[in-house]
Structure formats: C-alpha cells, structure tokens
Symmetry: C2
Subunit: 533 residues, 2 copies
C-alpha cells in the first residue's frame, strides 16, 4: 500500500519549549488555586528562567557538513542556535534546571534531519568517517539524560533528528499489525491508525510529544498497559540502521530461532543503531471508554486487589492506585496537607473496547473489587484523571517557577517485595530531602508476578537544586538496588541510571552490552556514554 | 525455604531407549490396527535396529578426568559405553536412523554430572583449562541436532548431564513464582509444584522427558500455550554458569533497564552458558480440565476462527486445529487413505482452571465458534486427544521399524501469510518426497498477530533415508525462509537449522550472536557448532 503521511508538515509542528515541558502556548504560572497550598508547604521563592542564553559555537566546520548537505539537502542540516537549542538535552528536572539557568553546554554542533532509512544510514556512515558522535532524537522527552552523550574524543556531536520520518508504511488488517516510522509522535501515530479504524493503545505521560522510535528504544510503558501491554510487548518487527548496515528483525510473532534479538534492540537507547521502522501489534479503535474511581482503606489493600486482578487474568484497560499521600494531594485543600485523616487510596480503573466487551470486563472487575472491599466512586474521579492524564509535567514547570523542586522516578518488583521497596525508597527520599519534602507514589503497571512503583517528589529547592536532587536520586536508586528491584520500569537508563545498571544486570550483563555495542558500532559513534556501562 | 527434591533419586530414573523415543518399556511394534493401513500406504519393509553397537573409545585420558573426579566425586564422571551411549545425540529422525544403524560416532568422551551451580562452574573451568567441548544435556529430546557439537580442534567432548539438579529451590505464593533447577523433567517439576497447589502449565509433546533447563534454552512452547503462554513468556529470572562466571538476571517482571537480557539467554541452547536456575511464573493447579472437539469445513475456516479468538482475547487453554489431511488420518480407517470425502478439520479446545473460570471461558469461546459456523463435537474427541497427547513419538519408532520415514517440522508466521506458508511448505515437501508421501499439518500455537504451523511427514524410506530426509528438510526450510516465516517456532536451531538462521536474523544478527558468544565463552568450549552461525 501507499505509505500514509500526517497532514501537518513536520517543520510546522509545535516544538517543545526549550526550558519547559510541552507546548509553549500551554506554559502557565502556578494556578491561583494551588498557589496557597504550595506557599503553605514550601514557601514561594520565585525563580524565573534566564531569558538570554548563549550556545557554544558549533564545533563542526562547514566543510565537514557539506557532505551531509549534499546527501540530505542543505535545508536538513542545521547549525543555527535556535534549532540546536531545541535539541539540547531532554526533560528531566535536572535538564530543566540547567536550561532555566541558561546552561546550554550540551548543545549539539548540528541538527541533521534525514528523511529515510537510507539517509539515516548515510548520516551514520558520515559520522563513522569523521568520528562524530550521533545522538538519535525523537520527541526529546527523555527524563534520564538519554540525550546527553559524551563528546570528548569526538570531532563533534550531532543530533540525528527523526522529525521527518513520520509515515505509516503498512497496515495488515488480517494480522493486526502496522509498520510505523520512528519520528511519529504519539498523537500523530494514533491519528494515522484511527483513519484505519485502529489504535496502538500506547499512552505514556509523554504521549503528546514522545515518538514511536523513542517508545521502542526506551521500552516505554503507557497508562493503558494493563489492557494493551507495554510497548516492548506491542513490537513484532524492527528495522535498524547501524554503522555496520541494515538490520531487519521479525519473522513471526514468536519463535525458537535462537535468542529473540528484537528484545536486544528494544531498550537499546540509540546505542546500537537507529530504529527506522517499527512494526507493532494494533487493536481496533475502541467504541467506548469508561474510567472509574475506587477507594481503598490503604495502599496495601488496593495493591492486593490489583494483584488479585492480575493473577486472575481479569484486568481493566487502565489500572492505577495512588498511595495515601498522593491521594490526599490530589484531593487537597490547603488544610489537607499533613493531615492524619487521609481519605484512603484512590484507584482508577478504565475500560476501552466495544460496548459489550467493556461491559463484560467492567462487570468482572467490579465483582472482584467489591468482593475485596473496594468502594466504587463512580466515573467522576476516573474522568478527572483521564482529563488531566498528560498534564503533570506542565505543573512541574509551574512549581519550578516558584522554587519547588519536583521530579519523578519509578521502579518495579515482585508482589512479595512491593511493600519493602515502597518503604525503603520513601525512607531514602525522605532522609535525603528532609522533613518538608512530599513523597507521593502510585502503582500504574501490573503483572501477574509484580508491579511498578512510580514516585513523585516535591521539596523546597535549595541553593544548589541540582546537587540536592542528585543526592536524593542516588539515595533512592541505592535503595532500589538494595531491595533487588529494577532501577527503572519504563524511563530507561540514559546517563542518569547508568551507574546502577551493572548492579542490576551483573558484570556479565554489562560486558554483553559492551560486546554487542562493539559489534554493531565498532567506532562507538552512537550515543557514547548512554546506556552501556 | 528448604529446597524440595523429587522422591525418586535421579540415578533410578528411567533412561530413554538409546535407539527410540521414551521409556523402553513402552517400545512396541506397530499396532495391528494400524499395520494394514501402513501397508496399504507405504508397504511394509521391516528394518530392525542394529543390536550390537560399538562406541568410539573415550578420547579423554584418566589423568585429565581426575581433576573432575576430585571435584564432583568419581561416581559422577562416567566413561563407560552404556552411559555414553545414552548421551549420544537427540531424538530427531536422523538421530534415530543413525542410532538404529549402530552409528555412535558422536558419543561423548565422558558424561559428567555436577550436582550444583558451583559444580557446573567447576566443569566449565576444567573444560576451558583443557579445551574440552561441553554439551549441556537435559532430557536429550532435541530434534534439531542440538546435542551434536563440533569436536575438531578440541581435546575431547563431554556431556554435561544435569540429571542431578532437580530441586525446587523456592516458591513465592504471593508473586506466584517458583525457582526450579534445570534437570527437572516436566512431570517431576509438575509433581513438586502440585504439592504446593501450583502448576507450570508447560506441556510440550516432549513433556515426559524434557527438562526445565531445556525448555528455557530452546524456547519451548507447550500444547497449552494459549492458556499458559510459551515457556519464554513464563520465565522471569535465570541463573547461568558461564565460562566467565556466574550471571543472575531478573530484577522485576518487566523493566526498561536496557535490553531484556533474559531474552538473550532464552534460546541460547547452551552456547552462552549453562542455565542452572530458572524462575518461572506459576498458576494455581486447575480443579477442572475439559477438552472438546469442533469440526470446521476447511483448514482456512478453522484458522480464521482461531484468529478471531486470539484477536478478541478470548482463548481457551488449549487450541489446536488439524488440516484436512491430519484430520483424515486421525480418524482413519484403511479405506480413508486418499479418499476425497475428507471429514473437514478437527479443532481441539481445552479449558483448565477453577470450575467457574472454565465455564465462563468455555461459554465465551463456544459463542464465538458457533457464531463462525463451527460444529461442536462434544468432549470425546478432546479426551481422545488429551489421552494420546504425548504418544506420537512412540508411533514414529514403530513406523521406522517397518521402513516408513516419519518426521515433524514447524514454523510460524503472521495470519495474513498463513495460507501461503502452508501451501509452499506442503508443496516443497511433496515435491521432494514424491507422490506417496503424506504431509499433515496442524496449528497448535496462536498469537494476536499470527500462528504456528506444525507439519508431520510420512514417506516410504529409501535406501538412504538420511539423505532422503535431508533433501526434504532443506526444501521445506527453503520454502519457510522464502515465505518470510521463521525456521522454527519451538524446536530451536541446533545444528540442523543453523544453515538457515542467517536468512532469518540477518548477517548482523549472526554477528551479534558471535559477539555475545565470544564475550561469554571466549575459548568456545560451549556447544561448539550449535546455534551460532
């Protein structure tokens, strides 16, 4: 079939704010309704971002870039400050703190925009020839330093921007698969699939800006993972441009033809190659979406209910549970902060599908939850969650504006280890950040054998907020490793988690990653310093 | 908890017949009821196995083995002919043809039986020191030449027999996981788990003899895969003894801490290390098991019904569909051979779980199948299938006794490619084996995006049956590759599929496997010549 392309040309798409999350038009001051609450908890310490910024000059001279201009077209090789600024780092709180302070030391020397797999391959060949570091760039939403590659020893560093690769290459309505290009953002991919009556069903918090290639490269997991599966479970085929050539994987849904090498590309974070095509399992576009709230007397009681659902194979499409602290904040009025009269724990259940399937699944889940003592709250809390499901990063910016450090981190473990992990990470964060800090948590991804824990932290920013957060992050990461849990359930490794990766996958795991990297990227131009220990 | 060990000491367990499948006590001549049918189809050409056999002398001298005897105990290092014969090759038809002809050229020089992870590591250290090839041995049920390693350039070859490693090391009833040692055969693992009220639910045709370690190393898939998942989907943790040391993987059900390296060990066929512990997801022991039959007018109609079930997420525990030819043979009376009045296609649906879950699932599946025109045949065909589900390899031996070549092969593809793959492989086998050959097929594993195809072939054995089968196998494998399908859905690569592996995973895939092998097994002592292209 003829590939289908989004109607909005890529160069007209909204770029994210260079110092904040998301659409610049949606940047806003802290809402008045929250201002009093924040003042009470942390005080208000206005810290506006530095407006004037100076980028390091591009370290790549024109002669070197001319070969790329010949190949891609001069209009797809950018060295201007405005474009380079938009490809500097990702969107972690440390990234934002640096950007707000006017620190653009990590700006790429150039931004190159190949339009096809072959052009990506040409960029890699050029990078190998001239020993230039290459950072693949999708939506720029990394929160783990995945876009901050090492540059020492390289002739320069380019951002390989996939923004032009936005085609839906193929749809197989019989096998229910679709082949997508990596530069499609979440809404663009969903729009193209919706025209075919299909959905991918992958809705992480970064959905509005993150891309298909990034989802694959980082093993993303979405808010509807209970129903649709995490992104790595959706992928059945991949095409990768590597410095050693083209690599196509995916002969069948599953097989025994040796190790599943797709699983080696998924999570490879641009260090082994650039993903240029992703074939995913798709589902029919749901006719009905219903989101509901449930109240549980405690986080333990709610988590046990989630475990029961997962192990019974009776899962809604969306399943989330906030702990007492997150529940209180979500319902907060000023006097609720620090109150002991916590309103229990809020669970969100969501159902998507045709009407009959939704009703059948909803009835089955409802029977289990009522049997376990859950109190149904109707659709209002569910609709409220669905309405704001992608908004939290905007609030983070508003909090940073008034001197409150906000960041998230996530982990996963077995059900039997959940309570320990929760207690240990909370304790580590509280000890590092001090008594005034808020530590909130929710479970947003469940499996038969375990679940994720997603922490949100807010604390009054000190004079060196970067060091303050680095210490808290290290304390929490140490606690995760000590508890035998993963250092990241769905944010990836990047540079921020790399110090802990060997503790998780072993010295031999690190050695294997280095061996694969050396095989596929022998001169080490791809995302140096990212992922591989 | 205290590890649990099976009640039958390992040295008293029944060994498989050295020239046939399975328990020697169950070896039998072709049943009289089938004899007439086989004579009609192929003629009877009695070909008894050669009784007297001579093994090559062990090429490893005692001095070399003494270090192992010191470490493992002399009683666990065997060089006698009887033991070595039982560890010679696997159970493919070519393996059996060679064994029946008295060809034991591939016998190992010694059989060594470590009892713990540390003893496995000691064997590997010894093998590296003396450059001895090591073939990990579980149940010996390989049908792809997975136990026939290369020995040129090595001081000798030992079979690393895991028969002593049969403990259930841990059970986590909250997370629903169990940690098993690799030498446990299917029934032994199920018995240990049943005492805990649990089941693994993994029942491949080799179940009675194959082991936990082998299931993991080969990405096995069982007859109940629709309900329990294929073995690689059951594994959440692994421990591996490699020549470079101990490797433990599995921090959480799923995560984003780089590529999932568990998926690199699964399917590694003993070429990267020896799997010494496997942590698997388990389920509650089912209270009810019901198996039923359904009739479809054609293979296409039945396969479309399977696809509908898989894509609706309404799957029974067991789901199989025989094509017209296999259905006819299964129902065969002598006059049915070659008849045009095929009785359609037989589907088996099975349900396992508690009574309420079974009834709910059965009702949902029944509604879909009846809506698509399936004709319910009640439980009799289902019970007949369940009764004989592990018996086909015994029949193969009886057929070989009368000069009929019988073998199986399997593949998988996307739903939209199923009909083409089926036609092409059938045509390739028919063209290679000639008009008198029978080619039967069934679908036994389904996914949302595709399914497996399992072929059984019977033909009159020529004077060089090995060459005859090699040609047919090559023709079928070429057809699978040409159709873009996998060379093996659940039998693994071994040595037999290795010539086609690069076509499936690409030159870069082969290169990556070599790089990982070189990293973990730098001197190449582990299963040389198996898997890695």
């Amino acid at each position: 079939m003829t590939p289908i392309v989004p109607t909005v040309p890529s160069h007209q798409q909204t770029e994210m704010h260079p110092q904040r999350w998301g659409d610049p038009a949606r940047a806003a001051a802290l809402p008045e309704s929250a201002r009093g609450l924040v003042e009470l908890a942390f005080g208000l310490d206005e810290r506006p971002a530095v407006e004037a910024v100076t980028l390091p000059a591009s370290g790549l001279d024109d002669a070197l870039l001319d070969a790329l201009r010949d190949r891609l077209g001069a209009e797809h090789v950018h060295t201007d400050d405005a474009t380079r600024r938009l490809r500097t780092r990702g969107k972690s709180t440390p990234d934002l703190l640096r950007a707000r302070a006017g620190d653009l030391a990590d700006a790429p020397d150039a931004v190159v925009r190949p339009g096809t797999h072959d052009e990506v391959a040409a960029v890699l060949a050029w990078a190998v020839e001239h020993h230039v570091a290459v950072v693949p760039f999708g939506g720029g939403t990394s929160v783990v330093g995945g876009l901050v590659a090492r540059r020492d020893g390289y002739a320069g560093l380019v951002s390989l921007d996939l923004v032009r690769m936005k085609r839906l290459l193929a749809v197989d309505h019989v096998s229910m698969t679709a082949t997508l290009e990596p530069g499609l953002r979440g809404p663009e991919a969903e729009a193209l699939l919706a025209a075919e009556g299909l959905t991918l069903g992958h809705f992480p918090q970064s959905f509005e800006h993150a891309t298909i290639g990034g989802f694959a490269a980082t093993r993303s997991s979405g808010q509807s993972s209970a129903g649709y599966g995490r992104f790595d479970a959706l992928v059945v085929g991949l095409r990768v441009a590597t410095p050693r050539g083209d690599w196509v994987l995916g002969s069948s849904p599953a097989n025994a033809a040796g190790p599943d090498l797709r699983q080696l590309v998924l999570g490879s974070e641009g260090a082994f190659g650039v993903i240029t095509e992703v074939t995913v399992r798709v589902r029919r576009l749901p006719a009905v979406k219903v989101y509901e709230g449930w109240r549980w007397p405690s986080f333990d009681a709610g988590a046990d209910a989630m475990r029961t659902l997962a192990q019974a194979g009776v899962l809604p499409t969306v399943l989330r549970l906030s702990d007492e602290h997150e529940t209180a904040i979500n319902l907060a009025k000023p006097d609720a902060i620090g109150s002991d009269s916590a309103p229990g724990c809020l669970m969100i259940t969501g159902y998507e599908g045709d009407a009959a399937a939704v009703e059948a699944r909803r009835a089955a889940v409802t029977a289990v939850l009522e049997g376990l003592g859950g109190v149904g709250l109707g659709t209002e809390p569910g609709q409220a969650w669905a309405h704001g499901r992608f908004d939290a990063p905007y609030l983070r910016d508003s909090m940073l504006d008034v001197g409150v450090l906000v960041e998230t981190m996530e982990t996963a473990t077995w059900w039997s280890n959940r309570a320990r992990l929760y207690a240990d990470v909370r304790a580590a964060l509280a000890a590092s950040l001090g008594d005034g800090a808020l530590v909130l948590c929710h479970v947003s991804h469940v499996y038969e054998t375990g679940c994720s824990l997603y922490f949100t932290v807010a604390a009054k920013a000190g004079t060196d907020a970067l060091a303050q957060w680095a210490a808290a992050k290290a304390a929490a990461s140490d606690a995760m490793v000590a508890a035998g849990a993963t250092i990241t359930h769905h944010h990836a490794v990047g540079t921020d988690h790399r110090p802990w990766l060997t503790a998780e996958i072993g010295e031999l795991g690190g050695s294997v990653l280095r061996a694969v990297k050396a095989d596929l990227d022998p001169t080490g131009v791809l995302n140096p310093g990212v992922l591989v220990p």
